[in-house]
Amino acid sequence: MSVIDNEKYTAISPAEFFLRYREIAGFANPARALYQAVRELVENALDATDAHGILPSIKVVIRKADPIQDFYKVTVEDNGIGLPPHIVPEAFGRVLFSSKYVLRQTRGMFGLGVKVAALYAQMTTGKPIEVITSKPNLKFIYYFKLRIDVHKNEPVVLEKGSWRKTRNWHGTVVSLTLEGDWSRARSKILEYIARTAVATPYANIVLVTPDNEIVYYERVVNKLPKPPKEVKPHPHGIDLETLKKIINSTSYKTVYDLLVKNFQSIGEVTAKAVLKQAEIPSSINPKKLGETELLRLVETMKNYKKYKPPKADALSPLSSEIIVAGLKRMYNPEFVEAVTRRPSTYHGYPFIVEVGIAYGGNTPLSDKDKPVLLRYANKIPLLYDEGSDVITSVVKEDIAWSNYLVELPAPILVLVHICSTKVPFKGVGKESIADVPEVRREVKLGILEVARRLRRYLAKKIKEEEIRKKIVSIAKYIPEVVRALTIISDGPGVSREELEEKLVNIIVARTGLSSTDIKRVIDSVEIGA
């Protein structure tokens, strides 16, 4: 009997693959799936707006969709650039189709998430995906009902329609109906929306929950983060597949031109040096390069040492102004400052670290070992795996908070945003940042920079409090002292008011305390029986 003979090798479509391995994409159970679906849709909505210069207005509605089963309909509406109608079926119905193959910082990396969400929805409830969309310059609004043919990896359009716009609406509305667990997902979803709101004070965000709870974060600034520019790839980050794609789409006739025109940080001198090192003639047509030559070229490009660092233009930091506005809107802190570090690189990828610190006000009380942390990667809040994040180990191990006059637990919160064309995530969950020395260093320097400002603020506050105490501890006795003195020394004819005024003046002159504060305390004094 032969077991091996019975073994069958079947190719599966990407759609099928993701359906089987949905844990990787965050759809392990109904609670997690509901949370993940909201996330994917919200992040797409934000990418469709702020990256295109539009102040976002996002509405998230979660409704119970079946009286018996735990089906929820998640609808996310944005006022973004919309989608051209002809690509809608592909965009939602075929895994791996994406506009995000260019190199720039976006929230979702390949647009995979929303498709996995759609697959999960279809599998658990059998309900189709509904999409309504329009672009600013189109006269019609388009409507689709789709499902995915898992085996063929193809979209199936169930319904389709369009109507003429009566006002200049543009944006996208996506609805998914999926099996979920609201009661267990509730706190995570609320937290996700709140943290998203902290990073997007320029957005109106409305969440309507199945309990008919309405959470509304109103826009507080009209400034958008600088949108990321599309940049040519940096040779350090190249791989064989990408190089092949570039060669297929290029019109340049020599490999030399290809390098100079299609990559950043490669000028004429560098191109020659790289080609010489790879032992490839400059004038050869790139389309005629064989597999071994291409491999050699990739290896050489990756290992060449003398490139200029990659450009940070592809990055879209929030800016300190936006971080401050976001923290203010959420926590109304007594102290808040933020900093955007200068761009830096690791392994050839540009990245920028931003740090904000909020103290006091409605800032929640921290644990004993570290401040409250808000972590973001490319504007996405990271909610899980805080313990294994490099940011956590920096705030715990690298920073002595007491040196900054913070005695933990304290109402202190540290926000760290890392943006990069390739965020160094730890593991497939993409919920924590790996301990990359360059990144760790930047995170530390960023936190220290803001912490120093916090220390200045707290030192001033402590000093002011001491002065206040001093004022009070003397001023509260003035009425009694003046009363006693006028009783005993009824000689020189000094009135109480005069004596009090003189005393206040002496205190002001000798101690530099403020006379209005002294008088305020004196006026508040009542001498009882």
Binding site: I471, K476, E480, V481, L485, V494, I506, R510, V521, G528
Partner: protein, 431 residues
């Protein structure tokens, strides 16, 4: 109606108060910071004057500034108290220290700069207001009695003495079974006539009454005084005046225990808390007549102890100069009357005479380990005489004490007609 004597005292005090506090007002009007300058009233500024055998207030002064956050409360309290005393003087009143405490105690309600309301009492306990009164005494250079502040006084006196108190003349030999209660302002007493040879101060009121009924003072031409425990200021001042103005020698009779010994030293040289008054209150020539440890045990055992123990170094030849002593009590009487000392008594004794003597004389291991916490104490210099060291060494060694009543139990006649007169006659006392 207040007497004429009181009136003049009042006027004097009022003018001193006015003068002193007008200075403060003047400073404030001139834009100078308000400060009270007065002698420092703390243990470290208490000096034992070896020559005059007095506890005195040292030369250190303190400046109590209103602008000093740590002093502003005390400054306020001092002025508050001054104004109450001033009021009382001006209104012909005689407040007690407790009255002053209640009159000044009230609540100051205020808001801090955050708007929170706070309440604070001008003072909480009488300890605080009493301390302020003492501050005012040194600041004004006026004693409480002169300020006509009364306190509950417990001292009593009988004897062949005629005094004038207020506008009345009182014969202290005609008090029946009672006695004259020494008034809180003994300086206002005028001595009219006296027929006595010495003053006997008895610590215990009960023994005072027994001796009084027995007719001790008549028989022995004594003025009999009791302090009824720790002597108050009025009793001390009264005894001092008997000694100073009537030239009568003063003998002190207390329990034979460390507390009794300390009471004697307060009469003789003054106390630490009231060191600023020693020159007025102390009786440097006062003699400790008993009850001595040597009256109870004799000195035989002590001599043995002194020879063999490391006491040799402590006493050297001083011990040989001490007169030999025979006990007044027999072995069986001792058994009946002697009380076992408590750990607290032993601790007090260490405070008087120092740790090293205690260590040398003590034999009880348990007590020895209990007083280890007092290691390093050197005791008061005025107890470092061979006589007192002998007394306390016997105390440490026997861990016994004896009350005066025990001597009376042996027989009132023994106490009145033998013990006291014999000790005075043979100079069997500690000076």
């Amino acid at each position: 109606m207040s007497s004429s004597v009181d009136k003049s005292v009042r006027e004097k005090c009022i003018s001193i108060l006015r003068e002193k506090f007008s200075e403060i007002v003047k400073r404030i009007v001139e834009g100078k910071r308000p400060v009270l300058v007065m002698p420092k009233r703390v243990l470290t500024n208490t000096i034992y004057d070896e020559k005059n055998k007095l506890l005195l207030l040292g030369p250190e002064m303190q400046r109590r500034s209103f602008l000093d956050v740590n002093e502003s409360r005390k400054f306020m309290q001092t002025l508050l108290m001054a104004s109450i005393i001033y009021d009382a003087l001006a209104n012909d009143e005689y407040p007690t220290i407790r009255d002053l405490y209640y009159r000044g105690k009230h609540t100051i309600t205020y808001r801090d700069l955050h708007g929170r309301i706070h309440r604070e009492n001008t003072w909480d306990e009488q300890r605080e207001s009493d301390s302020v009164i003492r501050d005012l005494e040194v600041y004004l250079g006026l004693l409480r009695e002169e300020l006509l502040i009364l306190s509950k006084e417990k001292g009593k006196v009988v004897g062949n003495l005629v005094i004038k108190s207020g506008d009345d003349v009182i014969d202290l030999s005609r008090m029946g079974h009672g006695a004259y209660a020494i008034e809180p302002t003994p300086d206002l007493i005028e001595f009219v006539d006296v027929d006595a040879e010495y003053v006997l101060v008895v610590e215990k009121d009960a023994v005072f009454q027994q001796l009084h009924r027995y007719g001790f003072w008549k028989k022995h031409k004594a003025i009999l005084v009791t302090s009824a425990g720790q002597p108050d200021r009025a009793t001390r001042r009264f005894v001092r005046r008997l000694n100073e103005e009537l030239k009568l020698p003063v003998y002190i009779l207390t329990d034979s225990d460390p507390y009794g010994f300390y009471i004697y030293s307060v009469f003789k040289i003054g106390s630490i808390t009231l060191s600023y008054e020693s020159t007025r209150l102390a009786v440097p020539s006062a003699k400790f007549i008993g009850v001595m440890m040597t009256d109870v045990f004799g000195d035989e055992a002590f001599r043995k102890l002194a020879r063999k123990a490391n006491l040799k170094n402590v006493f050297k030849d001083a011990i040989n100069k001490l007169p030999q002593k025979k006990p007044y009590l027999s072995e069986s009487e001792r058994k009946n009357y002697v009380i076992k000392a408590k750990p607290k008594d032993v601790e007090r004794a260490v405070e008087l005479v120092g740790y090293s003597l205690a260590l040398a004389c003590l034999e009880d291991r348990e007590i020895k380990s209990k007083i280890r916490k007092k290691e390093g104490l050197t005791g008061y210099p005025w107890f470092h005489t061979p006589e007192w060291m002998r007394e306390l060494c016997i105390f440490f060694n026997t861990l016994s004490k004896l009350e005066i009543e025990a001597m009376a139990s042996k027989g009132l006649r023994f106490l009145a007609d033998k013990y006291i007169p014999e000790k005075i006659e043979t100079h069997d006392y500690i000076d």
